[in-house]
Amino acid sequence: MDGTGLRERIPHVVNTLVRRGLSFAAAEDAVQSALVRAVEVWPHDPPRNPTGWLITTAWRAFLDQVRSDESRALREERNAMEPRPGAAPSRDDTLWLYFLCAHPALTPGSAIALTLRAVGGLTTRQIAEAYLVPEATMAQRISRAKQRIADRGLDRPGSVTTVLRVLYLLFNEGYSGDIDLAAEAVRLTRQLASRIDEPEVSGLLALMLLHHARREARTGAGGRLVPLSEQDRRLWDTALIREGIDILQEALARDRRGEYQVQAAIAALHADAPSTEETDWPQIVEWYDELVELTGSDVVRLNRAVALGEAEGPRTGAAALIGIDTATPRYAAVSAHLHERAGDLDLAALAYTEAARRATSEAERVHLERRAVRLRGADG
């Protein structure tokens, strides 16, 4: 979108206004006005000092708002415009914003929207378009999120854990429009990792890079899902894979494991393999064992059953399904896959049809219907 570093400057500008005494909510609004203006003006009239331009424009937007708005809250704001004595000059501005936007009082949807705006420097319209909702709805969601934070206190922001959760969801939700949210998640996680020295932050970055590397191979003609086993591995981005593996190895060497590092390790083993057959499935199963211990999640147990099916045979994989809640997303799909591997093709076809009925995405539904059709022999 910019190439001028516009969006990288946004967190610093928000913080400059907060240091001048504005509330986070007012500062963020003012910067959004400046950002919208910059998107219009910069392409044909780039400023000599972009950060200075943003601060001045945001400051003016704030003053305009104070003048036009008679609300009590904003008049109080004007009285509070002197810099606060308590503002610590040494704190990392950008980091503080990440934590604030992942405030535990926010729902994930609100935290993601606020992060994209205040840390990511996207406009409300771009965020609304990415999530397929009206701009007014997204504006309200962000405004209410800020209100909620203000009520609960800026001094108790989120932690690294909540920030990573927000970034993971942003990456994983799979929305794709003009704004590439997965790429944005990678950028924001990279920026975070450059500011905070935590193995799990590196782990999440590695996980994203390793999955992002497979992006070209993941969808075929017309957005068709291509499962890992059928992907053309020559389309994988080897530079991203190498980077992901390097980051992961450094993180693992510090021996403070967490779920993102473990997920990244599984992705790395896939990335390393020339084919499904030549994949180190026993080691993947071991990582899944660790991930089950860390998360206790049935989704993880399901994936472990798939890996176990590859490592020790589909009957063993199917046995590992016992005890997993059948309402777990993709349960029917995994069960179908294991039946197929075991050669129970009629059962597998039935299970794929059932799985298609329960799919939560159109691409997945079509993929599962096609599997069922293929097994019934109606389609080469």
């Binding site: 994930p108 909702v133 009206p134 994983n172 999955h211 992705a267 995405s361 159109e362 539904r365």
Partner: protein
């Protein structure tokens, strides 16, 4: 965040709690009903959960392709259709539980005597994009 479609029916659902048909409501009961519906949509705009909504006419026809170069075939109006959609609202919320709570609120729109209508609404999840990380 997942999206859900709330569907309201002219007919086809089970009988509502307050089972007095609309043609026997008074004018002011109708006004109160419409005001409640408008207010409901406004509340969702305000909470950042509203996507779109529309009311549908009772008229309408079935239509299908009938071969290259031939005009579309129509069938209707829906005299025999048991299930007739009256309107829809698309919402974008944090959870299925929230979608159910909102549908319940919408169903509480007043009917005869100003008492909650308690009509049955259909809640349908909208397909989401496929997640990136699946293994």
């Amino acid at each position: 965040m997942p999206k859900y479609l709330l569907l309201k029916h002219y007919r086809g659902g089970k009988a509502p709690l307050n089972d007095v048909p609309g043609d026997r409501w008074t004018e002011s009961e109708w006004e109160a009903h419409v005001a409640y519906m408008d207010d409901f949509a406004d509340r969702l705009r305000d909470s950042g959960e509203f996507v779109a909504s529309a009311a549908l006419s009772m008229d309408g026809e079935w239509v299908r392709y009938d071969g290259e170069g031939r005009p579309p075939v129509t069938d209707g109006p829906f005299a025999e259709t048991k299930d007739l959609v009256a309107g829809w609202m698309l919402i974008d919320v944090d959870s299925y539980e929230r979608a159910l709570a909102l549908a319940s609120d919408l169903s509480a729109a007043p009917g005869a005597g100003g008492n909650p209508l308690g009509e049955w609404l259909e809640v349908r999840p909208v397909m989401e994009p496929a997640p990136t990380v699946t293994e």
